[in-house]
Symmetry: D2
Subunit: 371 residues, 4 copies
Amino acid sequence: MSSIFGQLFRITTWGESHGGGVGVVIDGCPPRIPLSEDDIQPDLDRRRPGQSEIVTPRQEEDRCEILSGVFEGRTLGSPISIMIRNKDARPEAYAEMKEKFRPSHADYTYQAKYGIRNWQGGGRASARETIGRVAAAAVAKKVLAAHIAPGLEIVAYVKSIHELIAHVDPDTVTTAQVESNIVRTGDPRAVEPMTARIKQARSDGDSLGGVIECVVRNCPPGLGEPVFDKLDSDLARAVLSLPATKGFEIGSGFAGTRMTGAEHNDPFEMDGERVRTTRNYSGGIQGGISNGENIIFRVAFKPTATIMKEQQTVTAEGADTELTARGRHDPCVLPRAVPMVEAMTGLVLCDHALRHHAQCRLPDHPESAAG
Amino acid sequence: MSSIFGQLFRITTWGESHGGGVGVVIDGCPPRIPLSEDDIQPDLDRRRPGQSEIVTPRQEEDRCEILSGVFEGRTLGSPISIMIRNKDARPEAYAEMKEKFRPSHADYTYQAKYGIRNWQGGGRASARETIGRVAAAAVAKKVLAAHIAPGLEIVAYVKSIHELIAHVDPDTVTTAQVESNIVRTGDPRAVEPMTARIKQARSDGDSLGGVIECVVRNCPPGLGEPVFDKLDSDLARAVLSLPATKGFEIGSGFAGTRMTGAEHNDPFEMDGERVRTTRNYSGGIQGGISNGENIIFRVAFKPTATIMKEQQTVTAEGADTELTARGRHDPCVLPRAVPMVEAMTGLVLCDHALRHHAQCRLPDHPESAAG
Amino acid sequence: MSSIFGQLFRITTWGESHGGGVGVVIDGCPPRIPLSEDDIQPDLDRRRPGQSEIVTPRQEEDRCEILSGVFEGRTLGSPISIMIRNKDARPEAYAEMKEKFRPSHADYTYQAKYGIRNWQGGGRASARETIGRVAAAAVAKKVLAAHIAPGLEIVAYVKSIHELIAHVDPDTVTTAQVESNIVRTGDPRAVEPMTARIKQARSDGDSLGGVIECVVRNCPPGLGEPVFDKLDSDLARAVLSLPATKGFEIGSGFAGTRMTGAEHNDPFEMDGERVRTTRNYSGGIQGGISNGENIIFRVAFKPTATIMKEQQTVTAEGADTELTARGRHDPCVLPRAVPMVEAMTGLVLCDHALRHHAQCRLPDHPESAAG
Amino acid sequence: MSSIFGQLFRITTWGESHGGGVGVVIDGCPPRIPLSEDDIQPDLDRRRPGQSEIVTPRQEEDRCEILSGVFEGRTLGSPISIMIRNKDARPEAYAEMKEKFRPSHADYTYQAKYGIRNWQGGGRASARETIGRVAAAAVAKKVLAAHIAPGLEIVAYVKSIHELIAHVDPDTVTTAQVESNIVRTGDPRAVEPMTARIKQARSDGDSLGGVIECVVRNCPPGLGEPVFDKLDSDLARAVLSLPATKGFEIGSGFAGTRMTGAEHNDPFEMDGERVRTTRNYSGGIQGGISNGENIIFRVAFKPTATIMKEQQTVTAEGADTELTARGRHDPCVLPRAVPMVEAMTGLVLCDHALRHHAQCRLPDHPESAAG
């Protein structure tokens, strides 16, 4: 189940960084959704390498091809297979990695687990794997818009880079604002210092981490399930399955542990017919189920493991050695991780929306006694 | 799938706070493991109410009964059903909750999702649900000890209560140290101030949150899977499915976002035949797979939602109102949450150990060419 | 996953023939369905031992207890745990089986697989395990009636016992007709010869098999899925998971292999607004999906393995020996298997109905372009 | 889950008859298995169209491409994506089917379920979908050979065509014998009459059905699980998910219902160290678990639904009409279905072998008390 995600809107991703390509198969997509490559490509363009001066220069067009599941411009309800060929692969840049484990990469653990690994560019652990997720999420968002919540919005943005913190209002920030700058932060004043800081890290041969915040607006109440499949725990699992992540918090998060219950509880009040809370330390989810308020969470990304400095490591044969990385890479993954966080969020919401519909939105038959 | 957890060591929990009881069915347990109620009861006793002066006074013996799956003292390989009857239920204490939604509880979201809820004591959202998890985890730990990693240790402890921080060495802290005090912290100097702080919160009619840290020692390398079922993302999902959790971080966590790659990467070195890292910002997991170092993570718990102060809320009929909680509850959930965190950790590790064994530990047949 | 069945309406059964009891946990049941033990007990009574002179005399009341998931007479949407205690267990009757494998039972294969087995009364392989299925199916049928197809009818009946064949019209046979006789056939003229034949087998110390036919009427079109989860393949798996089954066929079945396409195809015609077929060799399912015609299938049951004659077998230690069975048993399982076949059918239909609803019955939002 | 099959060796197939192509993604394959396209192509060649004078003349090379999961000739443990492009598609031949439902095809039920269908060549219901299964099964068989049972053999063959019955000894029939004739029967004397009968049906514009028998030799005891995932019920589901199937029986099957228990039970005897049965009415599976004897089952295939005769049907708009099929098709699917039956068998056995290994073949640690 390693590469399968979701219960009803279920995706299987495949592919390594250096191989025939990467892709995804979506099983369980509702039928009759208008869909073409044009619906998917914009999100792929947001996550592709080479898009700006602060990301990896690897040149990949990442053009997607829909191979099945769509007919005359609409989904059939059958599996949607989407493929993206690898183009600008340079395995020779990784020859040294064949023999040496890169620190804080997955080289050693893959070898320990499988007894074999594709040492070219990180193989399955490469962020190229996320292409399939982003492509599938573009479809998930179309399902959400068509059937479940036309006004639902998912906006992620860089909240911090290293010690630089952006000030963003999650209630109002727009995708246009985030996309207006190459850092993908929602705070105009943070763009320049963050850009400069990333460039400095690159010229130092070093790398940076940071925090991405994500807000979901206009999510209907009732999504998520009690106990094991809570909406927040599923969101955590989803975004923490992205490379380089180290933490997740929702609503008040870790800071909330330093409040008292009287300070932290979100009082209810009526807003016309609608039940609202007067504040939102819950982060839009209570007891694992969305309450209709904005869902707000943050994800910690560590500094990129690939750096241009000499590091201590060991060989596959078990000898101490040194390694200085080559290959193209991002000095800071956050700008390209923004669409990945949005993608995982969209996949979780779509899946839970279908699950909620299946269990709790059945028609009551007039002939029956249930109601 | 809301109440089913795991892929191979698969548990189904059931039960509400006020009903016939709570329990769990374990499907997929390996056969021939010695097992009796005596193996399970100690962990239940650690999480049961009424165990000390700083937890809820509800009196429940929480005596477990194994109904199936064990024969002549050993597991059969068939489902193990474990039941615990509810005894000290006082639904009358919750009469007011029938009409009013408790702030930051699951009352409103359950009603919004299902159109019905058991308003007695939180129903399915009650921490009583975790009894089944703790019981199942006692079995999981026996499986780990018998077959996978006899020396594997899982130790959780209170790392902070509100603003009080414990100083604990994860490499050496023992269960005996944690169990020696009612707060369940591993820092002897923190016991008294934390106990006093919790008592103060209770007398104020208020509540507190905090952070639990968990360490897994002697975990073999290779557990966990790339992509969606990373060991860390599955641990996050597992512990964030516990009530009152708001955040998860592994290794360097959120603090790691303020380091550079050169500071953060964990260099490898040989330790005899064994590949080790010279530090452990990775938290024992790289690329989603255990690397043999200690697995270390932290979980944020919010202050208990039930407080004895008047709060603003709404009725089920949609009118603004006030509520002052009654019923028995914990002013701080952390002491009782320690065994729950350990339980979810044990369940994840056992499941991933079986999965790893299935895919990567097949015997090589001498007649075959593989190897 | 051995004891978990279904994707959305998901059941976990547990229990051995001789142990604390047997039961089931239903996960994913829609909320607000009226439910009490009285809805379940009648189906349990139809499958319980001791109900007539042609079944096993084991005395079990099989009284069910709902432990969770129901509140004030309606389902909560949370797991429904149902337990039935074992009462009239006589393990001493099975002492010989501790040492000897009963021919054509599961004794040897359980031992070979698990290295341990509960040798008392068949353990997990006993038909007592089906109690949980029948209980869960009573709930599934309530879901179908309340929400999906109020007029849906599932009627199974004995089609043949050994060489005696009943003549039953699947379009009109009623449950009342089937329940009016202890054989549970729908053909009044077959009752006496079948009853006599079963009594003769018992007095001979021998046993009989036969065929059960099942019809589903008023099933809406669209249930089932292409490829792996075809409605007919899932029905086959479901009923062939019952003890003593050896074959399944739908519609024309094996006899259809001796027809030509021109003879076998079911022509379509309009019946008012409704698409119908003029005959039904398809058995109500085409391409894995229900077409609205009656679903008709047959299940082969072998003669009961427990017989009162001396048989050649081996001991657990690997020596040739003889065995003459003791213990109480059915000379012919078919009368009691009729409600089991109906139960598995109800579980499959309910699960597929929820799945169909989730993928294909989403509301079209007026603001969206999909339709 | 419609297009996902298996629990541990898990495959996702995709593709329609007329579209970009068809394919499969295998998740959970053990690492280090030698694998290339050359291991897969022979099985694809056995099922491809145009291979002989008695199958459809559609010209498809069905050349497979492995896109991921293999590195330097061995499996990585990551998902293996295999793609086959469609080439000789002639959608114009199906223009009439856009408006008319073909009798006993899936046209109507797909339309009823999804509100849309790919009317070109059957879309997802086409037998082209099985390419992915056959490709995945070639890998499954390599896993079985490398790790689980090097001597395991799966041989399927045509047992009957219409009323012509082949006489084949399941204990000795070889793949070479089956492949030596275009009918794929194991009985040399049946080849000519069966070939002639199929040619006659084609010239009549009619079609034929029949029965395929499959034997598995040298299957180790212990595969399969009690209750819902019995090896026989999973085999039934697997082969009944193939197009045109109407029935399944194992061992004595439906004929066994006319035997008594004394006639039908399989006595045990010792054969050296090995427990054997003196006959095999059980068909190699008892209580859902393999017993080490040959697994023998039969599958009923209906006559091909596509015939060249005028048939009564209705239009998508709900009017009565007539239809005479065009397009290329098989007058009898059985010769090409033989490798499909073997493929599904291989997939089930590989999956159950991994599951058995995970639960029942764990190493006993010397430090532990289990054994």
